[in-house]
Amino acid sequence: MASYIGTATSRVDGRAKVTGEAKYAGEFNVPGLVHGYVVDSTIPKGRIARIDTSGALGMAGVIDVLTHQNRPQMPDKDAAYKDEVAPENGSPYRPLYDDRILFTGQPVALVLAEDWETARVAASQVKIEYEKEPHVTDLQAERSRAFTVDAPEKPRGDAEQAFASAPVRHAAEYSIPTEHHNPMELFASTAIWEDGRLTVYDKTQGVQNVQKYLCGVFKMKPDEVRVMSPYMGGGFGAGLRPQYQVMLAVLGACALKRPVRVMLTRAQMYALGYRPASIERLALGANEGGTLESMQHEAIAVTSQFEEFARNDTGWGNLLYKSPNAKFSHKLVKLDLPTSCDMRAPGAATGVYALECAMDELAIALKTDPVQLRLQCYSDRHQGEDLPYTSKQLRECYRQGAAEFGWEKRNPEPRSMRDGSELVGWGMASGVWEALQMPATVRIVLTANGHAEVATAASDIGTGTYTIMAQVAADMLGLPIDNISVKLGDSTLPQCPLEGGSWIASSVCNAIANTARAVRGDLLELAKQAKDSPFAGVGVDDVGLVDGKIVSKRDASCAMPIASAMLSGKAERITREETNNVAEDKSHARNVHSAIFAEVKVDEELGVIRVTRVVKAVAAGRILNPKTAHSQVMGGVVWGIGMALHEETLYDHRFGRVMNANIAEYHVPVNADIHDIKVIFVDEPDAIVNPLGIKGLGEIGIVGVAAAIANAVYHATGKRVRDLPITLDKVIQFN
């Protein structure tokens, strides 16, 4: 039997998704369902002076309107609201808690009605008067108020001095606007109240995080709250923390003792988390030989007034390049906005963008090919920790990516390549992310008919978790993949971390391996009970499970069908739960790497930019499923294109409001924007990172893409745009 691991495998949940059978959080239509509609704040800061719900309450079909004045009891301690990913410093936002307005779009009332149509019209009849207070929402205007958070990486040498004396220098400021995740599915929760117990269908990347959060807020026991998320219509980080609609749905269900659904509008989702706008200052100093003498990276990013969310934007250079002198700092500015949050490759998408543009500019200053410069500065050790990598095939990424792209045909001169009316630009960049594991527990139930159920409380947010779990389990249990059923997205299943940070594949699959080994041990014991068992004296690691049989590794003729083994031990099923071994090994750095090559074509007169080709070569350890892995990385590249050219949340700071809080004017790429994307997986065996050699792929896809495009736009046009997105008016001075 061929191995499923490493073989392109169609999604096991594909049929459910293409037929519309897959049900998402807002789609559980239980009898007696009450529909909630959120009324949100129109001002960014102040308090609610008056709230008049009589108009709404007077409408037929309206059951209740919850506000801070009449909501059920809520705890008053911050601790009750802290979820797993809540920033250490600060007080999590509490929906409908009091009259304070902390940000535009904050929920101020929840209309509960017999149907959605009534709830919606009733919501417009809730009258609210505010007392406004002065607000601030502009990062650039407030940057002088920035304060430093924990230094991400220790300084080395004297970076400032080394920069000052470096013969070749580049220093510049780059900026990235606020971006919103905009998953396709609207945030929704359905809370079903039944005999004092709650079942909550939630759009979340972590059912157990939400479960614990709800238990904390509503003072319920763990076995009284079950959170489910069998399918999730995209998260990208927006679903890591419990979002306010889940709390409101449960609040409504508790108040009415009825099932309640709350679905947000697209506009309301702009008051959830976001990728914080950031200003990134890079200063690179090189010697004439083209290696770095000094590397400085400072970032200033946005958080709310009430929580300090910070991700490391600035340490990435330590992973990529040697520099004897280095200095990093990360600062925050508090604004009257919701708390920022993780969004695909948090810290790296932004930080590496700035770093890799700066490296391009340095290469130009050095008159060196940008790939060559990266190779000259290449580091085989994590510079900050001075550790070797478990594996790092980044050189190979550069080589294979460049070859596939045809990089050697590049004329380094800007504006030197064209295709009729268009200037052609070729740019490149590096990408890097972490290869982490978190503790996860997997349960396997093997039945005598050769079927197995594999379960853990993970979420599949489109990443393909269902499928890789089935593949790994099928291989480890020696069963056809069709005999494996995967269960996830249910808080009652064995413990699993949040789906984020690209750690699910490594954590869950290594846990499957451990659990499968335990199952194998049980099977072996059962097999030994057979009359004249050939397995007498054989150890668990001397046998494998192949083609539905337990087989000795030494002697393939020594085999017994699973069914026979179980029969001989009179067992109908074997149930085992094991956890992955999360390495305490601190002797290696664990990272994934990539090289990105991009071609843009820019209309010389009009500045219209088309990204015509992207090659992304990724070294990410073992690739479990080339098919879904390809999609992951390709999707990341599409995100990178959006980040480079389109995405920007536009605030009117006078009103403290997002003015493009929709998906028509917040531009993300559409089909016509996406051309040729080639993904290469560079072979990278890694026996150290974890037993299966898996590194994860969710984040690496986007990292570096925007830089490669920005560098290509420079190469095409000779114009360096450092503030994203690169719109046509930034490329061409029109007036």
Binding site: S124, D603, L606, R610, A661, E665, D673, L728, F734, N735
Partner: protein, 338 residues
């Protein structure tokens, strides 16, 4: 959103009668603009009169050599109609440059003319906007105005009309057929949309109790030398930053007739007789096109974020005229601008 009643109109006369009795009623055709606005609380009709079933779905050639398009012909059907594709390809292309195929399948010819601006503040009821709430102020003038107008603006409003189709209709000098309580009348396309002045709440000269029944295209279709070029922030499914419809009649190299209109820059498709006159009798070359662009943009004024539109429009006009002169109109699917 506020609740509304729904009724269906049996025929044009019934539609007019119904709307006359209820000043806060509105017609609904494709619904793609009106339902959008109702959901955002920007429009608040207490009754919708469904005109989508009225028998106004024909595209027919007229005795005088033109074409009469029923007000309810869906945008897609119009764009793909053989007569339009052959005789008025500029109209086809402009329609296909707008929205998405799903929306074009729904949107009606009449509705497209009456669709409202996409100005961010018009859509956000928490901000002042003279067009939505006369007298409340214009937030866009000192606000986020990348998508706003550079021509024909007023101190009250700098909104643009978002339609692509209308830019071509302006060039084709279409005639809008309307019927109201006082009977039928025709409105020249140039007189259909208004400038904001100090009544930005009024987009058009259509009376609230009038219904559009048809759009008439005069015989001239400029099918040999035309182009529609739309510049936007992504390559499809986005409104125009600037769009240009150009139509030429050439004799050899010499321009016998020229029509030119801009979209995305004003409260209506923007034409200038001086610009078109400047092209007459000229050789179809860059010099002539540049002069025309200067005329067409005469008096253009930026408001900060949209300053670039002036220069962008100038270059886009020249480019579109060259495409038209060469007989190589801008393709819809090939995004390269040749």
């Amino acid at each position: 959103m506020i609740p509304f009643q729904y009724t269906r109109a049996n025929d044009v006369a019934d539609a007019i009668k119904q709307i006359a009795t209820d000043p806060s009623a509105k017609f609904i055709a494709g619904g793609t603009n009106l339902i959008d606005l109702i959901k955002y609380d920007v429009a608040a009709p207490t009754r919708l009169i469904d005109i989508s079933r009225l028998p106004l779905r024909n595209v027919e050639e007229t005795a005088t050599g033109g074409v009469l398009i029923g007000a309810l012909v869906p945008n897609t059907d119009l764009a793909y109609h053989p007569v339009i594709e052959q005789r008025y390809p500029l109209l086809s292309r402009s329609i296909l440059a707008g929205a998405s195929q799903q929306l074009r399948n729904m949107a009606s010819t009449g509705g497209n003319l009456v669709q409202r601006t996409r100005c961010f503040y018009f859509y956000d009821v928490a901000t002042p906007c003279n067009k939505r709430e006369p007298g409340s102020g214009c937030s866009a003038i000192d606000g986020i105005n990348r998508i706003n107008a550079i021509l024909g603006t007023s101190d009250s409003c700098i909104a643009t009309h978002p339609s692509d189709m209308c830019v071509a209709l302006a060039v084709l000098e279409a005639i809008v057929h309307v019927v109201g309580p006082a009977g039928a009348r025709n409105i020249a396309f140039a007189d259909f949309h208004r400038l904001p002045g100090n009544t930005p709440q009024r987009d058009t000269n259509l009376e609230p109790d009038e219904i559009i029944t048809a759009i008439e295209l005069p015989p001239k279709g400029f099918s040999a030398n035309y182009s529609y070029l739309k510049i936007r922030d992504r390559l499809s499914y986005a409104f125009a930053l600037v769009s240009v419809a150009a139509a030429l009649e050439l004799e050899g190299d010499t321009i016998k007739e020229a029509r030119l209109a801009l979209g995305g820059v004003a409260h209506k498709p923007w034409r200038s007789s001086a610009a078109e006159a400047a092209l007459l009798g000229q050789r179809a070359d860059r010099a002539a096109f540049t002069k025309a662009a200067d005329w067409l943009l005469h008096g253009a004024k930026g408001y900060g974020h949209n300053d670039f539109k002036i220069g962008l429009a100038r270059r886009a006009i020249i480019r579109t005229l060259s495409q038209a002169a060469r007989g190589t109109p801008q393709s819809i699917s090939d995004k390269k601008i040749r």
